[in-house]
Symmetry: C2
């Protein structure tokens, strides 16, 4: 992370995820370079990586812009993520070790602690959640699967969704993690696969519902103006 290109990557990425750079915004290399305090060379590398992540797009004439995520794109991404994470869960169940199982339980405990605070610790929840899924991916032992999922796990949408989870949703998510752990403990690949599919798709519908609610609110507000 000390390399200039890594700093540029993180900086631009954060600006996109935080919404500081809104969807559709043109990304001039020179302007980004100045923002990041580096030259254009590392910025160009960072943009290529962000393009691979599909966080930025390119016009037919090589102008880069912040990618716009339609609701269909989000559905598409969640569908693929469900398929790939489910596959990872199955492989992980088939290859599970006692040591990894212990680490998964630790992550789940941290997650449980986070959501039982008087004011739910969302950052703690996200970190425990990330760790949980990371261990599964590690145990699954497929470098390619990990690479493919890498471009799907930390999308703008996913991050923003979790922040709006209700306590009930957080609790439900944790319950699913517990059930997945049970499937891992029994080395039951089919079970793990099924729960993981459900786990991701439920997260998708939580997002879609929230999105629809947001749209309705926007429409009402427009009507009032």
């Amino acid at each position: 992370m000390s390399r200039a290109s890594d700093r540029a990557y993180s900086a631009i990425r954060n600006m996109i995820l935080s919404g500081e750079l809104p969807a559709g915004a043109q990304l001039g290399e020179e302007a980004l370079a100045e923002m990041c305090g580096v030259s254009r060379t590392p910025v160009r590398e960072a943009l290529r990586r962000l393009e691979a992540d599909m966080l930025v797009g390119r016009t037919d004439t090589q102008r880069t812009f912040v990618a716009d995520w339609s609701i269909d794109d989000v559905a598409d991404a969640f569908e693929l993520r469900a398929m790939l994470e489910a596959r990872a869960a199955r492989r992980a169940a088939e290859r599970m070790t006692d040591a990894a199982l212990a680490r998964i339980r630790v992550a789940n405990r941290a997650l449980s602690t986070a959501i039982q605070q008087p004011m739910p610790d969302v950052a703690g929840f996200l970190e425990g959640n990330r760790e949980f899924h990371a261990i599964i991916l590690e145990v699954a032992g497929s470098r390619r699967l990990a690479a493919l999922l890498g471009t799907l796990i930390e999308q703008p949408v996913v991050l923003r969704t979790a922040r709006h989870y209700s306590r009930e949703e957080l609790r439900r998510s944790h319950a699913e993690h517990e059930e997945l752990t049970a499937a891992f403990a029994r080395r039951d690949g089919a079970w793990a696969e099924a729960i993981m599919t459900s786990h991701i798709l439920r997260a998708y519908h939580a997002y879609a519902d929230a999105h629809r609610a947001r749209l309705d609110a926007g429409t009402q507000q427009e009507a009032a103006e």
Copy 2:
């Protein structure tokens, strides 16, 4: 393709796929730049892309080398490809149009012609095959699915395998394409998914068998020396 970085990408890629640059070979940026007749800047871009394709790897100190594909890596890649192409086939069947169906039939006819020559036209077969799978991916209508499959379809292994297909294997492959077309004509997603899974996994086992045979031949030769 006229850009220097594109030329560098193609050139290096071809050298890897042809075996001119053997697995494990160090890829000095300066040396590659000279080979491609460009400067280091576009070579660096090309290497980043090839790294995303997993055709080149990187040491912990950022030295690049031609990726070494163990038999397990190949199995891993085929397994993922089977899953993703099967998903694409299902989506394509559900969204199939008459126009696309006609194009698929044209591709299949070309493929059929290629394998019925006295001396099978392998290049023609590969082109028809590529077109067939490309149309399916297009009809599937998922940019992400296309992006993920992009890194899996034209791997060194896949290309080298097809060149050693027997006429019987070519004929079988074509028969599977015909069956897939039938599934598409009936808009039967489950059927299409199943055939595609089988289609890719059969190709995998054809490769694995050939690989084993090659290993055995090598061992025998060693024993004879």
